[in-house]
């Protein structure tokens, strides 16, 4: 039996960086039935993956072309860069977009200030600080609304 019987039709996501976000995301995507490969340069990081994760984990530096080729990045439909280093995420995202023309490239940036530069390259960025701020704002506003309702 093949590991991925109908690989061509399925989406194939590569996640770079096996931190809390990377590991959770990998688990969630796998549960939805996608092919998932996760790269990290530290073997210990893979312990964060949930036991039910059945995708591939690849040990190596994702900014190294050799490792990227090994991950079969050419056939990926999405690349998500979520290491703990903004600049590494940017480098990985740009390689994925410019050299391998991956349709969906997402980079996580801790520092929202750099975002403007990368938007024009077609790289989607998510910034936890901005998202958290929005969410806090939403919850606070919600509180106001309910108070008014009462």
């Amino acid at each position: 039996m093949k590991l991925f019987p109908n690989k061509k039709e399925k989406s194939y996501s590569i996640i770079v960086g096996c931190g809390r976000l990377g590991a959770n995301l990998a688990g969630a995507l796998y549960d939805k039935g996608a092919n998932v490969l996760i790269i990290d340069n530290n073997k210990e990081s893979f312990r964060k993956l949930s036991p039910s994760f059945g995708g591939i984990s690849l040990l190596g530096d994702a900014t190294d072309f050799f490792v990227l080729n090994e991950s079969d990045i050419k056939n990926a439909t999405a690349v998500v860069a979520v290491t703990n280093n903004d600049n590494t995420n940017i480098l990985v995202a740009q390689i994925a977009k410019e050299l391998f023309h991956i349709p969906h490239v997402i980079a996580r940036l801790y520092d929202p200030e750099r975002e403007c530069v990368y938007h024009e390259l077609g790289i989607d960025t998510i910034c936890p600080a901005v998202l958290s701020a929005k969410e806090v704002d939403r919850i606070l506003n919600m509180g106001e609304v309910t108070e008014e309702a009462i």
């Binding site: 072309f65 600049n87 940017i90 390689i95 410019e98 050299l99 520092d111 200030e113 530069v117």
Partner: protein, 221 residues
Amino acid sequence: MKRRIFLIGGFNETTSLAKSLIKKGYRVTAINDDRGKCNALAEIEHLTVFVGDGTKPFVLEDADAYNADIAIALTDHDADNLVICELCKKKFHIKKTVALISDPKKTEFFYRMGIDSVVCAITAIANIIEQQAFLDEMATLVPIGDGRINIAQVPVAATAPVVDKKLWEINLPKEVIIGCVLRGEHSIVPRGDTRILAGDMLVLISSAKQEMAAIKELTGR
């Protein structure tokens, strides 16, 4: 107005570059995220030093990157250097950006991302070492006079550019002479009209400075 150059990250490279650029009359600004290194850099005369992470836009802004002419990224991390150069290019519109990289395979990619000049230290060093190694292989050196003068034995391969040329046709540097030609069992003290054949062994007497140029001229490598 003096041209302004930004040196971001790195320490040894920044120190020596800053000194030579200041001597040449540029206005140099160094940015480093290590306070201790900044203190050391600050001892260089006429060098402006900023403490901060050069990959952050506000640090570059504080250092007045809008008015820089050249930005050189010298950190140890390829990713940081890429980000520095892209910020400099896109946000601060600096005309020329230079990045140091450690992975030679990324050179082409960096050029593609719009960086004007990519310097790969490893490739440069490898080339120098290779040259030295080749030199050892094809010439035996005997340094005399405290190493100011070298006597070198240079074999002439069939592919060498000097094959079938007369001595006076060869464009040797000034402080170099061919003292002897060893051909098979014979040794010839050459004159201007002596023809060099493939398989000859040339005994070269040269000043240490000119010897590389001479060997290159003779062997083509």
